[in-house]
Amino acid sequence: MSAERGAKKVRNRFLTVLAIISFAVFLQQAPNLLDGYKIRIMNMIAINAILGLSLNLIYGMAGMFSLGHAGFMAVGAYVSALLILTPAQKTAMWILDPIAPWLLGVHAPFLISILAAGLAAAFFGWLISMPVLRLGGDYLGIATLGFSEILRILITNLTPITNGPLGLKGIPAHTNLRVSYGILLVTLFCTVRLMKSNFGNVIKAVRDDETAARTMGINTFQTRVLAFTIGCFGAGVGGALMGNIITTIDPRMFTINQTYNTLMIVVIGGLGSITGSVVGSVLVTVMLEWLRFVENPIMIGSTQLFLSGKPGMRMVIFSLLLIGVIIFRREGVMGMKEFSWDRLFSFFSRQRGDAA
C-alpha cells in the first residue's frame, strides 16, 4: 500500500518536472514559432494568472470580498516604472510639474523593481487592512473599491511623483515569456506550499467558520490581515509586469474594470482553486482576444451580416458567457478542486472503463 503510494509520488514528481521542462522548451522556441501578437497574449495569460492567484488568495481562500485589486496593481506598476526609468527619461517626461528631486536619481534593475513593486503594494494593503478588514461581506467590497479609487486619484494628482494624468511612457519592455512564466512558476509554487501548510488550513478555517477558528486560539483578524497583505503583494507584482509589457502606464488603466477582469478570472476558474485561477486566466485572456472578430464587420459571401462591427461588442458577448457560467456552473470550471496527476489518470481510466 505505502510502497505503491511512494511509487505514485515518484511518478507524479517525475511528470511534474517533465511537464515544466517541456513547457520551458516550448517557451524557448516560442519566439520562432509564434508572431508577436500571440506572444503578447501568452505573456498576458501569465500576468493574469498571477493576478488571479493573488485575488483568489484574498477572495477565494480567505473569503474576503475585495474590489481593490486595481489600486494595488497601480501601486506596483508605478513603483516598478519609477525605479526603472532613467533620470534623463524622467526629466524629459515631467512637463506639468518638475519631478520630485529625490525621485530623479532613484534607480533599480528590473527584478529588484518587481520585488519593490510587490512590497509597496503589500504595504498599502497592510495599511488599509487595519481599518477595513473589520468589515465583512459586501461592506468590505465597497470599502476596498473606495480605497482603490483613492489610490488612483492620488496617482492622478501627485504630479511631482507620478507625472499625473499623463502617465509614464518609454518603460523598457522587460517582461518576456521567460520572466512572466518564471514569476508565475514561483507564484504557483509559493501558493501551493502556503495552502498545503497548516496556515492554508487556518485561512480556510477563518473563512468557513470564524467561531470554530477562534475557539482553537486562532487570531482571525491577524490571519485575515496576513492573507490580504500577501494577496496585495501579488497584485503589485502583476501590475509591475503589466507596466513592463505595455511600456506605458497611466491612471486610467487602473479603474474598476481592471479589477473586474481579475475577478472574472477567479470566478470562472473556481473560487478557492489554484488550478482554477490558471485555467480561468487562459480562458478569459484568450476569449477576450478571440472575440475581437465580432467587432469587425462580419461578411458572409458578399453581404454584410446584421452587425457592422461595433466596438465593445466583445464585452457584450463575454458578459453573456459569464452569465452562462454563473447560471450553469456557479462553482467555476474547477470548483474547489485542484489538478493532480492521480486525478488525471483516474479520469482517463474511468473513461476507458465506461467504453469497455
Binding site: 488550513n201 480556510k204 478555517a205 468557513d208 475557539t215 482553537m216
Partner: protein
Amino acid sequence: MLEIKNLNVWYGAIHAVHDISMSIARGEIVTLIGANGAGKSSTIRAIAGLVKGAKGQVTWTGKDGRPVQLLGRPPEYMVKLGISLSPEGRRILPQLTVEENLMLGAYIRSDKDGIQADIEYCYRLFPRLKERRGQKGGTLSGGEQQMLAVARALMSHPDLLMLDEPSLGLAPILVEEVFATISEINREGRTILLVEQNAYAALRIARKAYVLETGAITLQGTGAELLENPKVKEAYLGG
C-alpha cells in the same frame, strides 16, 4: 482552578445570564444543566472569550498559582492559558480531513513531538477517528463529528476542557459512548466543564452540578444528589 463570581451576560438589551457564581476545582467534572435558552451556552462562551457583553469576575488559577482575570480577554488568550472549548454544534471544518482538523486544534502549539503524541492519544480515545483520518470532516456521521470536535478541543492540550452539548443530535447509544470517553479523559487528570441538556447523562458522570434556569442558578450539589432531587427529577429527568 476557575472561580466565577457574579457573571452577567448581555446581548444588547437582553440579559441572558444573571449574576451566577460557580467554582471548578482541578480534576473535577462539573456540569451545568438546564433547558433551552437557560443561558448555559452564554456562560461557557463568556468563559471562552467569545461574548463581548460579559461582566463580573472570572478568575483562572493556572499551574503557576497566579490568579488571572479572564473577562475582556480574546479567545486565543484563553486557549494559551489552557482553557479549551468544544463549541455547540461541533463546528467541524467540512472541507478539511480529520487529521487536518486535529492539526488546527493544535494551532497555538509548536512542539511537533507533543502534537504527534496528542494526535495518537486522540486516536486511542476515539479509534473510529483513526480509521477516518484521511476523510473530509463533512463526510463523517454526526457521532464521529462529535468525537472529532472533542478530540480537536483536546489538541491544544488544555487543563480545562469545556464541552458545549456534546450529546446534541446523537443517538442514545452514541451518547453513552461519548460520555464514557469524557469520563475517561477526566480520569486521566483533565478538568472538565460540561454543559448539557441531557441532564441524566451529565449528572451520572459529574462530581458537581449546577442547574441553570432563565439565566440564574437555582440548584447546586453533587451529581448524585441532583439525580435524586425531586425538582430535578420532575423538570429534567421525566418524572
